[in-house]
Symmetry: C2
């Protein structure tokens, strides 16, 4: 009698088992040198300030919008980017991933046309696909999208919204130039496309060559949702992020928050607000960036030794990843099992595209968790795997 299946939503049939999740499970086996994950370096984060969460008042229910002190501190923090938002435009989130869930609920019906960069953040694709978006992509260069392609897609596809990660994107490391930001904002304004701008890596800026004014700050007509995270700089285990949004979207987003989980946990909002208002912030960020820069440079050196002939890449100026394109045509996905058998893990680039058979020659390598010694050993092994003759049955 138990063989009859429960009646599930059509939505959930679109929620595929994630290639990334499967690889990450394999990558945590003992002895594996993993460049597959994306964990930030916990040793570069400040210690959690327990003394800031002692007040019993923090343990009662709170309000859906977030703590007033948190919203104010976050508005100031966003202001440091050059983007002027008021605390009333800020919503506390259980990590910026939650903002993607809300954006999808707010903007996407089954079949709603939208655009993303290609490649793009895989867990964003997962949410947009769950809600049935008709996702089309715009080719990404290291300095932003191909503008002619973007305009073609806007004209042809008439998307309701677009998802952009303009600072040190996961996976590609791309960072939009100032000119690109202005040009993209103008185009999106012209087509009245609602912008979902996601900035988890903004603070992991290692060699900033130019200003990074958010695209949302440059919109004059389009609505927007601007997502931010503390998980790369402070205590990801606490799940604290935020969004800011254009005023007419805010009432909907607050109700979506209430329906989703009533409000964001309060003690960590207090701890983050304390840190944002403290004199320690700049020194902590400097320490974090210095640590990441050393690891990034070590990875760059090891890659040059082992992948110089094999692949091309731009050294990332921020974020946590190198993005490589093999010079020879070869599907990196097919090499994954062999690499895991050799105790080295990486992420095939295909995972970061919504369509089939895109990005086959690419791979993503995380640099924030491996020691220099493991980088040397692991990249040598990986290069060997990626040059070995494959069976062509």
């Amino acid at each position: 009698m138990d063989t009859d299946q429960p009646r599930l939503s059509t939505r959930v049939s679109r929620l595929k088992s994630s290639l990334v999740r499967d690889i990450l499970a394999a990558a945590t086996q003992p002895g594996v040198i993993s460049f597959a994950g994306g964990l930030p370096a916990a040793d570069l984060m400040p210690a959690f300030p327990l003394e800031t969460i002692a007040s019993p008042a923090l343990y009662q229910y709170g309000c859906s919008e977030g703590e007033p002190a948190f919203r104010k501190a976050v508005a100031n923090w966003i202001g440091e980017t050059g983007f002027d938002v008021s605390p009333s435009q800020v919503l506390a989130l259980a990590g910026s991933q939650q903002g993607l869930d809300f954006a999808a609920k707010l903007l996407i019906d089954s079949g709603t046309p939208m655009l993303t960069e290609a490649p793009t953040y895989v867990a964003a694709l997962q949410v947009f696909e769950l809600f049935g978006a008709d996702i089309q992509t715009v080719e990404l260069t290291p300095h932003g999208p191909d503008l002619a392609h973007l305009e073609t897609m806007l004209e042809k596809h008439r998307p309701s919204c677009i998802y952009l990660v303009p600072c040190f994107q996961n996976p590609s490391g791309a960072c939009y130039t100032p000119e690109m930001r202005t040009a993209v904002a103008e185009l999106l304004d012209r087509y009245r496309v609602t912008v979902i701008e996601d900035e988890p890596y903004r603070s992991v800026a290692l060699d900033v060559a130019h200003p990074m004014l958010p695209i949302c700050a440059q919109l004059r007509h389009s609505d927007w949702i601007y997502l931010g995270s503390f998980s790369k700089i402070l205590w990801p285990g606490c799940r604290i992020g935020y969004l800011a949004a254009s005023p007419r979207l805010m009432p909907h987003l607050v109700r979506l928050k209430q329906a989703a989980d009533l409000h964001t946990q309060r003690p960590a909002q207090a701890a983050v607000a304390h840190w944002l208002n403290s004199g320690q912030k700049e020194a902590d960020l400097q320490n974090l960036r210095d640590g990441y820069r050393i690891r990034r440079d070590a990875m760059q050196a090891a890659l040059t030794r082992h992948f110089g002939e094999l692949a091309e890449w731009e050294m990332p100026r921020g974020g946590l990843f190198f993005w490589l394109r093999l010079r020879e045509h070869r599907a990196t996905c097919a090499d994954l099992d062999r690499a895991l058998a050799q105790n080295v893990a990486f992420m095939p680039g295909e995972a970061f595209y919504p369509g089939q058979r895109q990005g086959q020659q690419t791979l993503r390598l995380n640099y924030s968790c491996a020691t220099p010694q493991d980088m040397e050993i692991g990249l040598a092994r990986l290069a060997a795997c990626l040059t070995e003759e494959t069976c062509t049955a």
Copy 2:
């Protein structure tokens, strides 16, 4: 140019401004004696054990399912109800409200038929309506649903799922008898209805007259999602709850969790697991129940003095609310503004029904936050408002 509206999902147009939310905002004005809210008594909760969350390892990203120690402790905690579940069936949540979001995502398309009790929890209605459920209701008595009505609705409506709160329901205080639990489980099994059972108030049991074996524990064919909360007994500001589910629903629910917010915050999972495994648990719960019993009894006495002629009610044996039905036909909603003008707030019963013009003669009164003196003053005032002649224009 800004007058053109953004293209929003059809879903979000179903997300109405909540009457409850508006009333709660009015009820927090200074000087108002409020029976409108549902805040648990913070002074009856144990202090948050900061020393249990000092490990730096808790501040890195965690896994979507939840901490192994938390899942194990929660499986044992559920086991105390007589319901045997394994840790692998437990998912850590950012409060049990999040489980409603996942249940809706998993089970409900626009137009999917479902059943709820009438009245029922208002924020559950909000989520099910957001996802477009075709909600039909079953009349609730103080001891469970009208069984004949339930069977009629199952036969006629063929619901995919049903939402039940069998222990000290918010708002009605209803608590299913053992016979009712068995009969309901048999009916739902026969019609293969997926059961969403929500138990936020189970631990606030003041005079338990009978066993309260969960309905999900008695299903043999139907799938199920069993939701639990710590927010009435421990630190609601931390947003920690859980679900357990039938094995074939779990993989979907874990992916929904990952897509929604990656995972539940880890420090509070550690604190809750510590409390669940501590020798302090029984004494803390006893203290909590003793405190609530005193307040419940004070409210019962004050109600008897001021509402004895005016309304009928069953004294709740648990949970945080009294549910009154006026003897005379009168829409309590129409009295709300006058009550607020008199600095006393309550929740009109209408808010707890999905349809229009149901429950007009009812009202919900919270007893956990007012002092005995405020109960006396506030209920006298409220009784006067509810007997005053109204304009019949």
